[in-house]
C-alpha cells in the first residue's frame, strides 16, 4: 500500500477485523490484495457492497463458467480501454483457461479468436451492449437463445457486461492502478 493505487486522496480508515481477515484470505489465495479492494476500503460499507456484488457475479452459481464471465469482463474492458481491468482480468483468463494467447486475444480483439458459436454470440452481445446499449433489441436476445443460452444465462451475460462497464469507468475516473503481480501471472 506504499505505492499510489489511484489518483485520489481519500480519508484513511482503520480496517475492521472482518476486513483484515478478508484481505488476509486474499493474500493467501491470490498472493495479493487486489487494489480495487484497497481502493474501496476507505469505506467498509462500500467495500462490502462491492465484494457482495462481485463475488456473486463472478464466483456464484451461473450457467456461465467462471472463464466465460472473465472473457466477458475482458472484452468489455478492451472496448473501454481500461488498464486496471484488462490487467487483472486478462490474468484471470490466462489462468482459468491455461491459454495465454486466449487472454491476449480477449485483451486485444476477441474477433481474432477461433470462438465457438456460443462464445461468439456471448461476446458479440457484450460488445454491442457496451458500445450501443440503446440499440439492443429483441433480436439480440434471440441470438443468445439460438446459441443455447437460457434466459437466466442472458441475465448473467448482461449483468457481467454491465458490471464491467461500471468498473471500467470507476477505474478510469480515479486512475486505479493494477497490482504489479498480475503482469507476469500465467504467461
Amino acid at each position: 500500500m506504499n505505492e499510489r493505487i489511484h489518483a485520489l486522496e481519500l480519508p484513511a480508515a482503520g480496517l475492521s477485523e472482518a476486513t483484515q481477515a478478508y484481505f488476509a484470505k486474499c493474500e493467501e489465495k491470490l498472493g495479493i490484495v487486489p487494489n480495487v479492494l484497497l481502493s474501496y476500503a476507505f469505506d467498509e460499507k462500500k467495500l462490502r457492497a462491492f465484494t457482495d456484488t462481485y463475488n456473486d457475479l463472478m464466483l456464484g452459481d451461473s450457467g456461465l463458467s467462471k472463464l466465460e464471465r472473465e472473457m466477458i469482463a475482458v472484452v468489455v474492458s478492451s472496448i473501454n480501454h481500461c488498464y486496471y481491468c484488462l490487467t487483472a482480468h486478462g490474468a484471470a483468463v490466462r489462468q482459468l483457461s491455461g491459454d495465454p494467447e486466449l487472454g491476449e486475444m480477449m485483451v486485444m480483439n476477441y474477433r481474432a479468436a477461433a470462438l465457438s458459436p456460443r462464445h461468439k454470440a456471448m461476446l458479440d452481445f457484450s460488445a454491442k451492449l457496451t458500445e450501443e446499449p440503446a440499440k439492443i433489441e429483441e433480436s439480440d436476445r434471440a441470438a443468445l437463445r439460438e446459441a443455447g443460452f437460457s434466459d437466466r444465462d442472458i441475465w448473467d451475460i448482461a449483468s457481467t457486461a454491465a458490471f464491467f462497464n461500471m468498473s471500467n469507468r470507476l477505474a478510469a475516473a480515479i486512475d486505479m492502478r493494477p497490482n504489479a503481480e498480475y503482469h507476469a501471472m500465467a504467461r
Copy 2:
C-alpha cells in the same frame, strides 16, 4: 406484477420475509415497488447486493446532495437512452428539485439548463466518463477540484456515473419496463 416487467423468463422465487417487508416499505414510501427491485427479486442474493450498493450510493452520506446524484443518474441515462432509468430518475429529479423543467432538461440535454459552475463541471465529467472513459486524464479531475469538489466527492461523482452505466445496460439488455406511476409524478 401482472404485467411484463422485462423480456426474460426467470425462475420464480418465493420472497423471504425480509424482502416482503422491504417491498412493503417501498410501497408505503414510494407508492410502488420499483420494477428494478422486482427484476432482481428472482435471486435474493443479487437483490440484496444491488440494494446495498444502490442505497449507499444514492441515499448514503456524501458531499453530493441526493438531487445532485439523481442529476448525474439522468444525464448518464440520457446519453445511453435508457428508458427505464430516464423514467424513474427523471421523476426523482422533478421531485427532489420541485422543478419539472429541470428534470426534463436532464432527460433531454443537460446543456440546455442554466447550471452553476459546480453542476456544469459535475455533469461534464459524468458525460465524458460515459462517452469516452478511456480519455479521462488528470486534467478532468483537476476541473472537478477547481469547481470545489473534494477527492471524496470525486469518488461519489465517479461511482454514481459508473453505476448508471451499469444499470442502463442491464435495463437495455433485458428491456426492463419502468413502473407506469413514474410518468405522472411531480409534473
Copy 3:
C-alpha cells in the same frame, strides 16, 4: 415575450397585422405562441417561409397521420438531444396519441416502445437518416415499401426527418427555449 426565448440579440421588428392575427390564432388554438415562431418573427419573410413549410409538412395532406409525423419529429430530436423540439413535439405526441408513455418513449428511446412493423420501419429509417445519411441505400427504401409505405409516403417520412434535423440544429445553435406550457400538457 418578456423572458429570453433564445441566446441572440436580434433586431426587433414590428409585426404586421397578418402576423399578429396568426399569433392570435395560435394563442386561441394552442394557448401559446410557440417560441419558434417568435424567434423567426424578427423577419417576417423568414417566418412565413418557415410556417409555410411547417404547416404543409406537419398538418397537410399525407399518407402519414399527424401523430406519425410527430413521432418522427421526436425520434429525430431524441438522437440530436434537442431540448426545444423534444419538449414541444413530445407534448404533441402525448396529445395526439392520448398516451403519455408513448410520448416519453419517443423522447427517451423509441426502441422501448411496442411498435407496429409499420412504425418500426418508419422510425428506423428516420433514425438512420439522422445518424448516417451517407449510408442510405436502395435497401433502406425497400424496407419502407415492404412495410406498406408508398413512394409518396417515403417522401413524407424523409421530409419530416430531414426537417427536424434542420430545426434541431437551429434550436441548438441559438439555444431556443420552449414555452413552459408544454411541460405539463397531456401528462
Copy 4:
C-alpha cells in the same frame, strides 16, 4: 426530365403557369432547372415553400456574402457526404469565388484551405453544428462574435448550416441526382 432524377415514383403533376415561368427563368439564368426543383415539383405547395426558404436564405439580405453561404453549404454537405449538394453547391463556390481550388477544398476538407479567422470560425461552427448539435454551448457563439459576426449573422450561419443538414438528408433519402451540367462548371 427524361433521366431519373431520384429513386421515387411520385405522382406526376401538371405545372402551373407560374411554375413554368419560374423554371424558364432558371434555364435562362443557370442554363438548367436544378433537379431539386424538379423533385419538389410534384407538389407545387411544397415547391413554393422550398424556394421561398431557399431564396431568402441563400440569396436574400445577409451579413454573409453569397459565397460565404455557399461555403457553409458545401462544408455541411462534405461532412454528410451528400452527392447532390456537393455537386451543385461545389459548382457555386467555384463560380462565385472564381477559385476552383477553393471549391474543391470545401468539398474535400475545408481545413486544407488557408482561411481567414472569420471563415475558420464560421466553418468550424457549421461543422460542429452538423456533427454534434447537442454540444453547442455559449462558448461556440462567443467564438463567432469574437470573429466579428453579429448576432444577426449567427442566425444566418446557423440557418444555412441547419438547412443543408435538411437538404442533405432529403437528397440522401431519395437518391436525388444532380444535373450533369454542374460537373464542368467553372473548373
Copy 5:
C-alpha cells in the same frame, strides 16, 4: 518547387541522378512531378521505398484493373477527407474511366454510383476496413469471394485500402498540398 508543398521544414537534399531522371520521366509522362514524390525526396531511401511500394501496388500485375485500384484509393480518401489524395486520385479516376462523374462520386459518396456487384463489394469492404478495421470478420472476406474475387484479389483490395489509410494520414499530418494541375485534369 517554389510554392510550399507541405507544412514542414525538412533538410534540403541534393537529388541523385537516378532521382532526377525519375522526376524528369514523371514530368514527361504526367506533366508534373507529384508533390508526394517531392515531399519524400528529402531522403532518397524513403522516396525509393515509397515508389517501390506504390508502383507495385497501383501499377503492377493484379486481378484488379488500375481503375479499380484508383477507385479504392479515392473511396478511402473520401472517408478520411484527405485533400491531397482526393485531388490526385480523383483525377486518376476521371482519367482512367473517361467518366468525370464517376470520379466525383468516388470523391463525394461512392454509394451514389450505380456500381456493379463486384465494385459494390470491393468498395464496401474498403470502406469497412477504413472505418472499423477491428470488426472485419470471415464473412467480410466471404462477401468478396461471392462477388467473384480470388484470395489474391482480396490481398490487393486490402493492400490498396490499407495503403491509402497510410498515405491519407501522412498527407494530413504534414498538410501535403496537391499539384494545382490535378484540378482541371480530365473534367
Copy 6:
C-alpha cells in the same frame, strides 16, 4: 509455416536465395521469421518493398529512438485493436524498454502511463492522426514542436503512425496471425 498464418489461400512461391538468407538472418536474430514477412513472401517484390519501408522506418536513422517508434506502433494498433501488431510490437516495447508494464500500458491505454511531456505529445498526436486524420491542424504540429520535436521528427512520428494504420488494416483484412513466440517474450 505449417500453421495457418492468415485467412487467404495465396499462390505459393519458391523463395529466392536472397529471401532465404534474409529469413535465416531473422531466425538467428529474433528466433523467428515474423509471420508478416511470410505473408508477403508469396510475391518477393511486395516483400522487398515492405521490408525496405519497414526497416528504414523502424530501424533507420531518426530523432526518435527505436523504443519511441515502437510505442507509436502499439498505440496506433491499440486504437485499431490489431491483434497481430499489438502482439508483435507489444513484445518489442517490453524488450526495448525492459519494462513489461510499459508494454502493457501501450497495448491497453497509453493514457495510464506516467509519460514525459515529450512522449505524451508524441502519442496524443499519433492517436489523433489515427482517429480523426481530417482534423489535424497547424496547432497539432505546433504542440509537437513545443514538446521539443523538430520538423524532421514530426515526419517520423507521422510516418510511423501512418504506417501502422496501414499494417493494422492489412492484418485485419486477412486475419494475420502473430508468431506464438511473441507472447512470452520479455515478460
